[in-house]
Symmetry: C2
Subunit: 225 residues, 2 copies
DNA sequence: CGGATCTTTGATGCTATTCAAGTCTTGTGG
DNA sequence: CCACAAGACTTGAATAGCATCAAAGATCCG
């Protein structure tokens, strides 16, 4: 499984063997959360198949979706030291998924031994970080419909397309998720999508969305009011 | 200069020599932007002294402040491949500052040779990425006053405190900057700060802010409406 | 002193939220 | 197979919060 990931292509056989020894496969069903040890040890992981969302609980009992993981995306959860997602963040499968995980503490020795592997992870960190930077800039500046357009286009990049429906977002995504990812209310997200559906920009149903007018969505996400 | 940065403490003498050879010092005066080659080659850099903001131009002719750099913070600007800030992003000094820069293309060979250095940069990438994650979550979920409180506390961590005024944000920060960092309008930012000044939470003037009630700001940034 | 920039304040309007009611879809168990 | 409950979605009306527009007041600099 490890060897099949583009993330690890060209990595030395020794490191691959170590990774294969340390990384444990686990499957997560649609809607289920990835469970983590409660003992405070952090986890390093990689998404292999499927798509997952990272939810952050809010003091108001609501949640924000702070990230979306697709195949090949790494994550660092819980624990102390440099970590991406806090111990309260939940990683929930949006479709039947498969992730690899290991103890975070065992990652550093591996990286010290193999600089090519370090570089690969550094590269990915920069790429994903820039992705977040972009999301932040959009949330800071854009109106409701623009944020939704940006988000839908972003989500499309995070899933493995279904053969027969290339523009269908290939995982379960509810109005509630869209709202939690854009900082809008569920009702506003629903209203915007209903409008777009009337205009023929997309088709949608309970938990699924198919983008039928990508160019228009691109324009919308980039227009200068 | 390179050796004095905590970022590079404990790095092998060989790599330090390489870094010292490649990294060029440049000073930036208050309000000035760091200039970059227009030839499309990316730049890797480190902030050494002072504080800088990263501005992203918007289609509406406005700007968003997407990041703030303090001493020891790295950045990757322009160029192709994995890069943090796009070619249109500007890095502007908020106080007289000093940064080290080098050609981004020359970074990878260095990282391949020294895995400890790679690990150090990976660590920082994760830390800063998590910082942005946190900002994103706040912008998604919080009201105007909460966002401003979070931002002020964040900004305080990015400057080197002035000896006589530990709670003074030690660089030039205008209402316009606060607004561009939180996604609010200049007027709203001004109104909230005026209110806080009347309530004795802070003192401020043209371009400066002194936080006089840190615990209250903490509470505000974390309260559940 | 004059000009530029930063800041404040008020009036007005729009956008998105909130609250509420109701419809549709899906899965479950009898 | 049908009834039912839970969850997802829609829609409307009222409201609140923030943006926008406009004008004037501070502060800094040469």
């Amino acid at each position: 499984v490890v060897r099949s990931l583009p993330l690890f292509h060209g990595i030395s056989p020794g490191s691959l063997a170590d990774l294969e020894f340390l990384l444990k496969t686990r499957s997560v069903r649609d809607g289920e959360a990835v469970s983590f040890p409660a003992d405070g040890h952090g986890v390093f992981g990689v998404a292999v198949r499927g798509t997952l969302k990272v939810q952050r609980p809010l003091p108001t009992a609501g949640i924000s979706v702070v990230d979306v993981l697709g195949p090949g995306d790494i994550f660092l959860h819980g624990g102390c030291g440099p970590v991406l997602y806090g111990p309260h963040d939940e990683i929930v499968a949006m479709t039947t998924s498969c992730v690899l995980t290991m103890n975070l503490a065992e990652l550093a020795p591996l990286l010290i031994r193999d600089s090519a592997l370090s570089l690969r992870l550094f590269d990915q960190a920069i790429r994903r970080w820039a992705e977040q930077q972009d999301r932040l800039a959009r949330v800071l500046a854009q109106a409701a419909d623009q944020r939704l357009a940006s988000l839908l286009l972003f989500l499309k990049t995070k899933g493995t397309p279904k053969p027969r429906y290339p523009n269908l977002i290939p995982f379960n995504i509810t109005r509630r998720d869209l709202a939690a990812s854009t900082g809008l209310s569920l009702e506003t997200a629903s209203r915007v999508l209903s409008m777009w559906e009337r205009e023929g920009r997309l088709r949608s149903g309970r938990g699924w969305i198919e983008l039928t007018d990508l160019p228009w969505l691109q324009d919308t996400s980039q227009r200068a009011d």
